[in-house]
Amino acid sequence: MVCSRGLGVALAIMCLMAAPACSRRNKPVATPQPAPTVTEPPVVQGPPPAPPRTQRVDDQQPAALSEDSVSDRSLDELNRNSPLRPAFFLLDSSDLDDAGRSVVTGNVDVLKKNPQWVVTIEGHCDERGTAEYNLALGERRASAVKTYMVSLGIAPDRLRTVSYGKEFPFDQAHNEDAWGKNRRAHFVITAK
């Protein structure tokens, strides 16, 4: 979840702590049936064949689980017109270049003017690495940005990091222009 205020997080945690209660709400759509009973196959020589022995064939269908998700509309509005700008990276790199540092420095100034804001730094990648590797690369990008912001005076407990790998491209196209936009650190205000 990208956006959640303290109450939302608390609700989510309470829900998790009370997992059995939550799961009771989520009734399975199918009733499980007993496992099939297996009868050894009889082997018969020549016709007329003996009547076959019987085995039950039980069909089990999986149930979908529904989760309540918490969202905060006023934070959503703020993030849709966010004063925080994304920082971009070179291919397979988690180093902030001059342009990236400039963007992050601007975001630091915004955070200093809004000392109650808590921000999640999302690390994103282009599609050219594997899905699995990109989760690590995105983690590194987010961490590199957090380290730089802390060095500029932001308290570490105001900054969270999360990697989305290549799961959420900003631009769905498959070309250099799109890949450049997708290798990014995206800033989301998660509390104000």
């Binding site: 990208v2 099939p36 039950r56 899905a131």
Partner: protein, 452 residues
């Protein structure tokens, strides 16, 4: 296991179970031993014919037709038999009963083995009888009756296919196994402030892509599903609480377990140990991405890797003593192996790849690790590393980018994703690179895992 120790031993068990063994022992001189395994000509595989299942009533006609095609497909998938195309013998009239199979007609179309199957349906109750005959000897070698509901007719055919593969080839067929994967097909928008993000949910399907069903409805990002060894649970990571956390969904009970709970650190890529008691996973709780192991309920967390580079994407060896994983400690992602107990004895597996990820350890008797190796600046291909000979075999060849291999439980097949057909889709392919099959077509589908 692909082959049981001896087919003779299996035959002995089957014959003994059927109560014929004492008879055969007593009359060894007079009574020829019953030949259960149907052979082909010389060394070629036997030719199998699967005529339409005979519907005992008009009500059963539809499911009878479906079952016969599914049985043909299941048998063809393993490539143990040579399946005669069904239109070759559509003119051979259906036998009315098991003692009226027209063996001479079946011999004319070259069949070594032919099924005679019947379907009864009354209301929701289904009875299927399946018999397999050796066309040359006119002997019945397999005979069984199955009862159940009409909710999933394909399951009867899958069961017959698995049992015939076991009896005839001592092979554990995969017809009743399942896949789990991630899909964005619902085109739902993620909750929250970002407009252009699509929800990804976890799905399961039959091995052949039939019966695709969603098992999460979170409207969030859910990734990297894997099966419990008993096939009753799917573990995955979900971003529903800000950072990815591990959930275990008991998919037939509607129960959700949550062994890792945090809103600040990531816990992801869960994979069950072969005995189902532990989960290897990836977390950044100690500063950077490392591999850990915990008990299934989240207790007894132990760290396995400790390196400033990133370590991720674990896969267990079949006996649970080793874990293969990805690390970029040399600058690029490569596959390594370590001891599962304590992370010791780390050695590098891939030495001739520019980049490699998502190792998947084969089941026995195959002793190999499949992975995605970079073959172009934009893409990967599936490769298989033989651990005994250290030779590498390429399975796909540059048609799209091919990633995330996962072995079938009998080791004969791999599921993987490819961009060759538009979007990212799940495919299966034989471990020899033959028999590619596209399973998904809706939205993007990624990171398949195959049940045991």
């Amino acid at each position: 296991m692909r082959r049981l120790p001896t087919i003779a031993a299996l035959l002995a068990i089957l014959v003994a179970t059927a109560g014929l063994w004492p008879l055969a022992a007593q009359n060894q001189n007079q009574q020829p031993e019953l030949e259960i395994v149907i052979g082909g000509d010389g060394n070629s595989p036997p030719h199998y014919a699967v005529p339409d299942f005979v519907a005992a009533s008009p009500e059963a006609a539809e499911i009878a037709a479906a079952m016969s095609q599914v049985l043909w497909d299941d048998l063809a998938f393993e490539r143990e038999f040579d399946l005669i195309p069904r239109d070759v013998y559509k003119t051979i009239p259906a036998a009315r009963s098991a003692d009226q199979v027209p063996f001479s007609s079946w011999r004319e179309v070259g069949a070594d083995a032919v099924f005679f199957c019947t379907v009864q349906k009354s209301g929701d109750k289904v009875v299927v009888q399946a018999r397999l005959f050796n066309v040359r000897t006119r002997q019945q070698v397999f005979s069984k009756e199955y009862t159940g509901t009409a909710s999933n007719p394909r399951l009867y055919a899958h069961t017959i296919a698995d049992e015939v593969h076991l009896q005839q080839r001592a092979l554990r067929g995969v017809a009743r196994t399942k896949l789990t994967f991630v899909s964005d097909r619902n085109k739902e928008r993620l909750l929250g402030p970002i407009d252009n993000r699509e929800v990804k949910e976890i799905y399961v399907s039959d091995y052949d892509g039939a019966n695709q069903r969603r098992i999460t409805t979170t409207r969030q990002l859910n990734i990297n599903p894997s099966w419990s060894p008993d096939g009753k649970a799917v573990a995955y990571s979900s971003y529903r609480n800000l950072t990815p956390q591990i959930f275990v969904s008991l998919i037939y009970q509607g129960v959700l377990e949550n062994p890792t709970k945090s809103t600040t650190v990531s816990n992801m890529m869960p994979v069950f140990s072969p005995d189902g008691t532990r989960i290897a996973f990836v977390t950044n709780r100690d500063g950077n991405t490392e591999i850990y192991v915990m008990n299934r309920d989240g207790s007894n967390v132990r760290r396995l890797t400790n390196h400033p580079a990133y370590e991720s994407t674990p896969t267990w060896s079949p006996n649970g003593t080793q874990i293969a994983f990805t690390s970029d400690r040399t600058g690029k992602a490569q596959i390594y192996i370590m001891n599962a107990a304590d992370g010791s004895n780390v050695r590098r597996l891939t030495v001739s790849e520019s980049e490699a990820d998502r190792a998947t350890w084969s089941p026995a008797p195959f002793n190999e690790i499949a992975y995605a190796g970079r073959t172009s600046s934009n893409g990967f291909d599936i490769k298989v590393h033989d651990l005994a000979t250290s030779t590498v075999k390429q399975i796909t060849f540059g048609e799209g980018s091919n990633e995330s291999p996962a072995y079938s439980p009998n080791g004969k097949h791999l599921a993987f994703t490819s961009t060759r057909a538009g979007g990212t889709q799940v495919f299966t392919i034989g471990r020899d690179g033959r028999g590619i099959k596209q399973l998904t077509r809706s939205g993007n589908n990624q990171t398949p895992a195959w049940s045991q």
